[in-house]
Subunit: 111 residues, 2 copies
């Protein structure tokens, strides 16, 4: 009790990660930064959420990983969307839109 901060993502994390990787190969740490930037600091993705999610997405064949050197001259694991991952992203976006539509119907219901 007492949650003034710590904005949480419900089940949207996978979709957001897939979307970011759809913009081009990118390593994990940078994914978290991008999500935070684009969402104007609303989402503050924790590493304990980030890395398990990336492994999950890779296990499911939606992302593939490759070690490369980052711009700052360090080793990073770069993720890119697979063909299946791209279809999955589309499916998740579709479902997200239906879901928010359904929620909107209920929230708009007047007395």
């Amino acid at each position: 009790m007492g949650e003034e901060r710590a904005e949480l993502l419900k089940g949207t994390l996978d979709m957001l990660i897939l979307k970011i990787t759809a913009l081009g190969p990118i390593h994990g740490y940078a994914i978290a930064q991008r999500i935070q930037q684009i969402s104007r600091d609303f989402f503050q993705l924790q590493q304990g959420s980030l890395y398990p999610a990336l492994h999950r997405l890779e296990d499911r064949g939606w992302l593939k990983a490759e070690w490369k050197t980052t711009e700052t001259g360090r080793e990073g694991k770069f993720y890119s969307l697979t063909r299946v991952g791209r279809k999955q992203l589309q499916a998740e976006v579709d479902n997200w839109e239906k879901l928010t539509g359904a929620v909107a119907l209920i929230l708009q219901t007047a007395e």
Copy 2:
């Protein structure tokens, strides 16, 4: 694997239940029906989700319950929003709007 049906609500269930009870006292079984109707069958609320959620909301002081007779002449537990529950509903709706806004920012990001 193989999920053609069974649309699920992410973490919005509490908010939806609070919203339905905000329309007036209503018993649990009818809440599930209302949510399904209003969402045009998108949400199909299972009893194994419904009743634990109602008890959770009551425990937190957001709903209060009272046994009454339904229109069909049976015993039903009617739930109504407490004052604190109404504030909680407003907080959850606010957060939901911020969250969907943040997701939209990311989904709209172009390559």
